[in-house]
Amino acid sequence: MTAVAASNEPREAVVGKPRHDSIENARILIADDDPLSRRLLAGILRAENFRNLRLAEGGVSAMEQLKEFRPDLLLLDMQMPDMSGLEVCRKVRADSELADMPILMQTATVDRKKMGELFSGGASDFLSKPINPSELIARVVIHLERWNSLRELRAYRERISRELEAARRMQFELLPPPGALQLFAESAGLRIASYNRSSSELGGDLWGMLPIDAGSLGIFLADFAGHGVNAALNTFRLHALIHEYRSLHDDPAELTSVLNERLVRLLPPGQFATFMYVVIDHADGELRFASAGAPPFLLVPGSGGRALLCEASGVPLGIERGSRYYLQQHAFPKDSLLFLYSDGLSEFVDDSGNRIGDSGLAKALSSCNLGLDPHVVIDCLCAEAGITENVALQDDTTVICIDRRVLTRAESYQDRSPGQPPARSSMVGADQEC
């Protein structure tokens, strides 16, 4: 044995893999009631360039130092007289601020039951006694690396969440501002309500209202394939394009054709949008519309009428160059109601596994009482489809309801923004039920 003899020979690294500074700078708290064992552990760690060490002479001291030192890793002796390692471990895991910190428990036990208690008490791993330096360093490194990865992942997730929230707000700002809509609605003798909710942070639905002249306005509803970032970015593209072709806002077929030509060039394969554009000519009591693969809209023509499904054929935007879109027309007399929706509503699968479908929505609308506030109509049909305030949506969902009824100033526009509870209008009376 030459243990005590000095030597200048370079020793081999216990763990040969180069380590990142963040590992070597990690804060490590060593809790052991035996001073010699504490010093031995610290000596082995320092020899491997871990320099940010703190020593605790027992469980109580460890608990006191945890809050102030905020270690990245805790090395705990299982058997300490004032508070056992297992007890410390359980207390640490019960503290939300420390709950994820790696805890390595030193133990000489080979008792399977005690080992089970150790892990169920929250230990991340164990170190056998007598101390094996290679094992100590390897386990410390692997748990610090895991801990760092976890923290990086959390930081990344928080950043992405913040960015998605900012994008969601920007996307929300693409929707018609309530003040401007109210002005349109008042001047056109209409009542308007809308509902727009994404199935994830960002959606692929977009709707808007375009003032044309004193006697007409346009309403579009687009639904990009999929949802999430791609679909949301495409809604920004489409919004810009629609406003670029202001001169075509009174020509649904031509506007749809031009948008298709632009999107065919812009969108990569597999990305496309259904699109419905309706011009409401309230001066002449007429609807003119074109569709690019969009779901039909519902029309109740005049008081007491049944809801009609108004379909128009057309290839979705962005798929085929040269696609033709055709103008359709329909009467829109006073007391009529127009109900536009994306397929998130008609295709929603309820708790029983059923979809209401287009005809189910028409039936539900036909059975609504006359004169309901458009907001109430939306609530009723969403409820019929199975969409309630807290239900998770399977697809982005947009609904717009417009009617030509005699209205007061305050009644003209109501909007349900994402996250806003489906509050009923203050004008809704007890008799206004589906």
Binding site: D34, I44, K129, I131, P133
Partner: protein, 121 residues
């Protein structure tokens, strides 16, 4: 059992090799220099607990001795401490083992001194 323990080597060379790899020769020497004082302290703690007739405290003190002596490669001392902690079930049985434990501490310290740099022989 006692005979088995007493024929065990005073130091386990494989454990010392592991420590040497980790700490270097000088680092290992520094740690081993602390062994005599720590062993003497543990011996005193075990004796005090025995004098108080406290079996539980006696075992706890033996557990500490077992922990650092095994980690520092003092194999015979660690085995003797382990036997006191886990095998003996009375104060009297442990008290009867104390002379052998004290002799093992002395032998371990002597072995360290013999192997210290500059030691004769």
């Amino acid at each position: 059992m006692l005979e088995t323990v007493e024929t065990e080597p005073l130091f386990a060379s494989d454990q010392l090799d592991l420590l040497r790899d980790a700490l270097g020769e000088e680092g290992l020497s520094v740690m081993l220099l602390e062994l005599p004082e720590a062993a003497g302290r543990s011996l005193g703690a075990i004796q005090a607990a025995l004098d108080a007739g406290n079996l539980d405290e006696t075992r706890k003190a033996a557990h500490v001795l077992k922990g650092f002596s095994s980690s520092l490669g003092a194999a015979r001392l660690a085995s003797m401490a382990r036997s006191i902690e886990l095998d003996l079930d009375s104060v009297a049985a442990i008290a009867a083992r104390m002379p052998a434990l004290a002799a093992t501490v002395e032998a371990t310290i002597a072995e360290l001194a013999r192997r210290a740099p500059g030691a004769q022989g």
